[in-house]
């Protein structure tokens, strides 16, 4: 029978609530909390050998210590499968489950099953390396989440490969080569015919889901508004002093443009994804500082924010892009900027 190690936080480990979030990890050689219900769903294919319990704050604040403990337990117990959570929409718990998944899946090579709400901040870090079942945002969804997680664990115990569509976990973003007895054009025509007949068909390439952002209010008095200029067009001061990558950017830069009338003369592009001739000739074609300065002189806008923000958009990971956006957005908000013009190439 395969051995399952279960991970929960202080709350689900029945130690206590927020007041116990500081506790260091403990290991119990029994099923605790959700692991008890989980144990009954394993169809005789696997058993729970023990439960790791760690305070959410401890895991996040003393990460190395927590992981060292978990590593020891792994060496002692040698589990075949690790189950964590579900964490629902609990942020610190989700990040802890992701940390557990990172250790077991990446370092120890042991498959990990967990569950989270789609907006849990831990999701991005672990969906690609573990099986993450979508849950509701609160623990009320426990009864629905556990059987799905258990079914995946049973499959793993039997040595079968879980499949996202059948087993109901978040797509992992892994592309695998599969063989088909029909070539692409045949499959495409079949799909088209099904569509024309109004029959159900399944795309082989699902489109990414659109992000929804609540629109900011309109700027009431533009003549007093501070407008910032941001670009993903890779426009940087000559020589690229901060070494921003020309593709797959790992960072962004900000430059004081308060004394400039235009970017032309001092700036160039390092973007590796488009023909740079026109931008190098006149970088304001990508980031129109000259026009904003002009509007300021006319009194149409109050001011141009002193810093210009820039990065390269080509090949840049969505995760990094999101991070850059949040970091830049935070700075602009704190600086009291009223509006942003973001240009992209």
């Amino acid at each position: 029978m395969k051995k399952i190690l279960y991970y929960v936080n202080q709350f689900f480990g029945q130690i206590g609530g927020e007041d116990q979030a500081h506790i260091a990890p403990v290991y119990k050689k029994e099923a605790v909390g959700p692991a008890m219900g989980f144990a009954k769903m394993l169809e005789g294919e696997a058993e729970i050998i023990g439960t790791l319990i760690c305070g959410d704050n401890f895991f996040n604040e003393h990460n190395e210590e927590a992981l060292a403990f978990i590593k020891d337990i792994n060496e002692q117990e040698k589990p075949d499968i690790v189950v964590a959570g579900p964490a629902f929409n609990a942020g610190r718990y989700g990040v802890a489950c992701a940390g557990v998944a990172e250790f077991f899946a990446l370092e120890a090579g042991i498959p990990v099953v967990t569950g989270m709400y789609e907006e849990n901040p831990g999701l991005e870090a672990c969906r690609g390396i573990s099986y993450v079942v979508p849950t509701t945002d609160s623990a009320g969804g426990m009864r629905k989440a556990l059987p799905t997680m258990a079914k995946i664990a049973v499959k793993l115990a039997k040595g079968e490969e879980p499949v996202a569509e059948e087993d109901g976990f978040f797509l992992r973003g892994i592309r695998e080569t599969v063989f088909s007895d029909k070539i692409g054009s045949e499959r495409a025509v079949e799909m088209l015919l099904k569509r024309l007949r109004g029959e159900e068909f399944e795309t082989e390439l699902p489109m990414p889901e659109f992000d929804n952002v609540e629109p900011a209010h309109a700027i009431a008095d533009m003549s007093k508004a501070v407008i910032a200029l941001v670009t993903t067009g890779g426009i940087v001061p000559h020589g690229n002093p901060d070494h921003i990558q020309s593709a797959s950017a790992q960072k962004w830069g900000k430059y004081d443009v308060s004394k400039l009338e235009m970017l032309k003369g001092d700036y160039e592009t390092i973007h590796g994804g488009y023909d740079p001739v026109y931008a190098n000739e006149f970088p304001d074609r990508v980031a129109p500082l000259d026009q904003l300065v002009h509007l300021k002189k006319e009194g149409a806008i109050g001011d141009v924010y002193k810093y210009f923000y820039t990065t390269t958009g080509t090949g840049t990971a969505v995760g990094n892009s999101r991070k850059f956006g949040q970091e830049i957005g935070k700075e602009l908000k704190e600086a009291g900027v009223d509006g942003v013009i973001l240009t992209s190439t």
Partner: protein, 63 residues
């Protein structure tokens, strides 16, 4: 301000000004002396977009 506005929509941008081309979103070297009025109009349109209340991703076309 972007040329491939479907990407702007997919990332949740709410005020979108369609621009000229990927290597020169706010410009058009082929226009020579007529490039400046085009650039001015595009940036003014972006400012107008910031002054306009929207409820969902909205494309601000010319005129």
């Amino acid at each position: 301000m972007a040329t491939i506005t479907t990407i702007s929509e997919s990332v949740g941008a709410n005020r979108i000004v369609p621009t000229v081309a990927i290597p020169y979103p706010v410009g058009d070297p082929a226009l020579e002396s007529k490039e400046e009025p085009l650039r001015e109009e595009l940036v003014e349109r972006a400012i107008k977009a910031l002054k306009t209340d929207v409820e969902k991703p909205t494309i601000f076309k010319k005129g």
